[in-house]
């Protein structure tokens, strides 16, 4: 699984280099994220701009990663593609995460 992390702008930015975050890799994703998050950083940004498909297993894995963060650490999401954004919206998990607006969404985030 392609998962890279680097410190940037005071945050740990984790980039998932997989086109799909789905049932086939959800468990592996959780395990790798746990290892990466051993690096101390109060802010964690998960960059999903390379992901064009997310299913409920992938969503559950992201929720699990957030729940595993120690108190005081935050998980922010960045670069949600339309299909991925839709899954967050339909399940109302968009209200749980800090989601940085994507270029394609422009000012239409509340339109749906």
């Amino acid at each position: 699984m392609k998962l890279s992390a680097e410190a940037s702008e005071g945050a740990l930015v984790v980039r998932l280099g997989e086109a799909r975050l789905d049932a086939a890799i959800a468990i592996q994703f959780k395990d790798r994220m746990r290892e990466i998050l051993l690096q101390p950083s109060p802010r964690v940004v998960l960059d999903l701009s390379g992901v064009d498909f997310l299913d409920s297993s992938g969503l559950g894995a992201i929720v699990s990663v957030m729940k595993g963060l120690s108190p005081g650490r935050k998980l922010e999401l960045r670069g949600l593609t339309p299909n991925v954004e839709k899954v967050f919206r339909l399940t109302r998990m968009d209200s749980v995460f800090a989601i940085q607006p994507s270029a394609h969404q422009g000012g239409l985030r509340d339109a749906g």
């Binding site: 498909f53 409920s56 299909n83 399940t91 209200s95």
Partner: protein, 164 residues
């Protein structure tokens, strides 16, 4: 049955004539990477008739249904087979999925409540989204246990000629 449907005769003036009787059928192992392959093939099959957003909905619904079969009906066993059929007609894409695993528990077909997001982080749900998404994105969801098989059918109101 699918073949019969494909040969329904229509008159010259019938708008149904304009709809290609597109059929997709695949049998594959109940295993995550085989599911990925079936998803890719089915979406590719209808890519020219549906929008990218509709393709996303189709792939999501199929993924949820197929993953449920892999994880629950066959409980992760390695030798299960899944059969997927999709027919495009006037009302959209009609999908039928069958497997030889354990029966679907009662309750999965009742419209589910979305797990609450308005809870403390530690109580956030990590599952329970799959059936919600299936119900939310499909119509006429039906299930039948027949001869040791699970048969699940549903329709996605996408790729309908009049609406495009």
């Amino acid at each position: 049955m699918l073949a019969e449907q494909a040969q329904v005769r229509t008159s010259e003036s019938d708008p149904r004539r304009k709809v290609g009787r597109d059929i997709f059928h695949s049998r594959f192992s109940a295993e995550p990477h085989a599911v990925r392959g079936a998803l890719r093939a089915s979406v590719a099959r209808f890519a020219r008739q549906i929008s990218p957003e509709e393709a996303g909905a189709l792939e999501l619904v199929l993924a949820e249904v197929l993953n449920n079969i892999v994880e629950h009906s066959y409980a992760g066993g390695s030798d299960g087979v899944i059969s997927l059929s999709i027919v495009r007609d006037l009302s959209g894409l009609s999908c039928a999925v069958s497997d030889d695993g354990i029966p679907l528990p009662e309750g999965c077909l009742a419209p589910p409540c979305l797990p609450s997001a308005a809870v403390a982080t530690a109580q956030l749900p990590e599952g329970g989204f799959g059936w919600y998404l299936i119900h939310d994105l499909t119509q006429d969801l039906g299930y039948r246990r027949d001869g040791g098989q699970n048969l699940l059918a549903f329709r996605l109101p996408i790729g309908v000629p009049e609406s495009r």
